[in-house]
Amino acid sequence: MAVTERPRIYEGSRIPSPIPSMLVLPEELRGSDEILQVNFGPNHPSTHGVLRLVVDLSGERVVGLRAVIGYLHTGFEKNMEQKTWWKAITYAPRVDYVSYQNNELVFVLAVEKLLGIEVPPKATWMRTLLAELNRIHSHLVFLGTGALELGAISMFWYAFRERDQILDLFELLTGARMHTRYYQVGGLAEDIPKGFDPEARKFCEWMPKAIDEYEAILSRNEIWLERTQGIGLLSAADAITLGQSGPVLRASGVDWDLRRDQGYLAYPEIDFDVPVYPNGDVYDRYKVRIDEMRQSVRIVEQCLDAMPEGPWIADDRKVVLPPRHELHTSMESLIHHFKIVTEGFRVPEGEVYVTVESPRGELGCYVVSDGGPRPWRVKFRAPSFVALEATATCMRDALIADFIAIVGSLDTLMGEVDR
């Protein structure tokens, strides 16, 4: 079917029934000789991580689909229950290991909400900046690997060139490229070093030109258009029923962005646009992410311009370590330091559910505290978990060659699916 003839969006619902996340082989085809069951096993170059998809094919058409996950189950939630609140922050970024700052952010925001602690503005703005840099990072990884799987191999190198620049910024700021552990309950772990601002501005100047390069390679490339337009359709109503969020939802025409609609960190004070595309296919998801990268660069520039001076962490000594020079003079500081480091600070009893807009969608963290130094229950609501449920709907009447494009466009990350 030529590109112009493909359906762009559909009416009604295409969610399979009775099991919404699985395409079940129709009765008449079961046991037939014409059905080939292929296992896209956990080790596959094109499934992002260890996803296993068992696909039934009738010729080239996908008639049955079952996703098997759990190959990266790490028991984060159980491990976090055994550690103090401080140490549990270290576990958080490894859940979604490409947008790691967002995971730390959501956990730290949840703990701060339970504590009722006030975060200084410098920390808020810096967290916003880092969340946006992380968004660019995640979309670059999506672009590089997504295009690589569809055959546009050179995109991988272009995207990873900028990705290394972002990781250089993280390393300049925090000392580590990935899993930076820069957020602390109450603010940031350390002050912002002096050389960060000019380097970040240099990056912001360069990045829009790089995004122009990516668009020049892909956006009007006939092969890319043929392979991505009209594929993997998901209507707005289906997307909302399936609980989608983030770029998948915005590419289906729903104008919903937690940064603007819910408002957290410094987003209410920043001017940015939210890209929404109507068609709900793979191409629109790609366009949404490219435009989001442009907007993220705008947000980073605004954060750099508006970065306030001042303390980088709250002053509450029951939660935050006192400054080191005070340990020599003040006995209370020494005691607080000791108690915080050994036993850990206590978080009052309660439960909260905090969400942020991660590059994949709505990342939520549900925290239950019993008043002690350790979490009672931590649950990360992973957007990729929900996106994989939509695979069956997107894959209705798809060909096997489009299958890789669809799975790639949902931008799933198995670390957060399996947790």
């Binding site: 759990g70 028991g75 008043g371």
Partner: protein
């Protein structure tokens, strides 16, 4: 049926028998069309072990009067151990309405071990995998779920790992100085 507000969040505690009714009402009349998250919490051992220090247990060493007005919960000497929970498990449904202002609500039901919970899959199809995950990791059975099987652990795994009586597992770490 009870309504609680804390930390700017609304929690509706619902009787499990009326869960489907409540959820349908919330989706259709109030407009909470997205089930954001479905989490089960295991409260086995809640408030039994006194956390050390100034929180005493209810049984003994109770130095603490109930918290006075305005005192910070973690100030020394004014602390109090948490109230016990009615049943072992609580299941929380976090709902979101896709409207400006992003109103959210949490529906909470309290169940005992082995008590089946009606499945909300007909109301929000996204609950499919969430319920399978909670069945796998916490052992909560959802009635009416068409395909309730393990999703994260292996199919023949025994036990439900996230329960409080399931051990953390792993290996004891050997240090080179010990030998």
């Amino acid at each position: 049926m009870e309504r609680r507000e804390a930390h700017d969040e609304t929690t509706l505690v619902v009787d499990p028998a009326r869960l489907l009714e409540a959820c349908t009402h919330l989706r259709d009349e109030e407009g909470f069309d997205v089930l954001s998250d479905l989490t089960a919490v295991d409260y086995l051992g809640w408030a039994e072990k006194g956390v050390a220090g100034y929180f005493g247990t209810r049984a003994g060493r109770d130095l603490n009067a109930p918290a006075t007005e305005g005192a910070s919960v973690y100030s020394q000497g004014f602390a109090r151990s948490p109230e016990p929970k009615p049943t072992r498990f609580a299941i929380n449904y976090h709902l979101l309405a896709v409207r400006p202002g992003a109103p959210r609500v949490r529906v909470q039901i309290w169940v005992d071990e082995g008590q089946p919970v009606p499945s909300v899959i007909k109301i929000w199809p996204t609950a499919d995998w969430h319920e399978r995950e909670q069945f796998d990791l916490m052992g909560i059975t959802f009635e009416g779920h068409p395909h309730l099987r393990r999703i994260i652990m292996e199919d023949d795994w025994e036990g439900h790992p996230l329960r409080k009586d399931y051990p953390l597992g792993g290996e004891p770490v050997r240090f080179s100085g010990d030998e």
